[in-house]
Symmetry: C2
Subunit: 182 residues, 2 copies
DNA sequence: CTTTATTCGTAACACTTGTTATTTTACCCG
DNA sequence: CGGGTAAAATAACAAGTGTTACGAATAAAG
């Protein structure tokens, strides 16, 4: 009846996502994505209405990627927010382009920091509850302060203005939690 | 002998800077700058070798602008780093495009955070000395922590993930200083 | 096989970018 | 009042963008 599809929506999305990850969001143009996917630009516009729609799909995939990244990140601290923070900071260092897209860009479909962080598994809520159980009175305020601090380190890592090691960073975060608690 | 120059290098630079400030760095293209300056693209390439050179000039002007901004910012706190931080955060909120250019972009001629902050007047050094005189033992470490915190707030302001008032922010910074000190 | 529907590649359109060639304009000196 | 000279305007080039028109390839049904 009709020709069989050889380039799927998954091919396109995966390629665009990989390019965003490796070369940055703005380099994932129609022609470049097509070239990397080994096809013409035509299949892109068959499965996506336009590039904006593909961009949004890439953005959503980046959110999923961050969630997986966090889920797989080794848990080494019992202090609330520290593991979440360490994962976030490592993500900023190792996935600069994705970090920039998710947390620093101002695309129209941008989600809030909290939405992305808390995610489907309620990570933030879990951490706040952990803080409460650890005897923290104002766990919400603690989250805000810790997150400001964590976001600050992540942002500075991105621009090369922060160069402490992972071990040092973990110590710094734990120490900050203690500071904010007292 | 020759025609009199009607478009100066100052005209070009001021226009490009204003456009960067109002519409963002990437919108200051040759044709758009020329249009806003009321001339063709030709005078731009007479006074600048290429757009890259103009961009760098805009970047340097943005640094000066930030310095003036800081110098004029009202001094309301006696706690070290708080005034510097308040100015930095206000700058992020009120001059999003310039903040992005100076502190978040990765242009080739980018200066380090410390270089920009400390500036010609040695603002950071002055604050660190103030902290020492206020009895802070590890003033360098204090600067790092305070600056991480300040940079975190500034970055979140930019993306709309922070919405405390100036007064609240000042309280938060002062309180953080006390936390870090103990 | 032939038909038919759909996917894909080629090529084009309209636009924006930096940059440059060419022509026009205006000024000051003789 | 010219004439030479520098500045500015016009217009072009080459490259890159999103998007679309169109024709060729292909697979399954008749």
């Amino acid at each position: 009846m009709a020709r069989k599809e050889s380039i799927t929506i998954q091919n396109i999305l995966d390629t665009a996502f990989l390019m965003t990850r490796e070369e940055g969001f703005r380099n994932a143009t129609a022609r470049k994505v097509a070239a990397k996917a080994g096809c013409s630009t035509q299949p892109i516009f068959r499965v996506y209405k336009n590039m904006e729609e593909l961009s949004e799909a890439v953005y959503l995939k980046a959110i999923d990627f961050f969630r997986d990244y966090y889920d797989l990140y080794p848990c080494t601290s019992s202090v609330p927010f520290v593991n979440l923070g360490m994962a976030y900071i490592a993500f900023a260092r190792e996935e600069k382009n994705l970090f920039q897209l998710l947390f620093l860009s101002d695309v129209s479909y941008k989600k809030s920091l909290y939405e992305i962080l808390n995610g489907s598994s309620g990570n933030v809520v879990a951490e706040i509850n952990a803080a409460k159980e650890a005897g923290c009175k104002d766990a919400g305020g603690m989250f805000m302060k810790m997150w400001i601090f964590i976001h600050g380190i992540a942002g500075m890592s991105l621009t090369g203005d922060y160069d402490l090691s992972d071990v040092e960073t973990k110590g710094l975060l734990e120490q900050s939690y203690q500071s904010f608690a007292s």
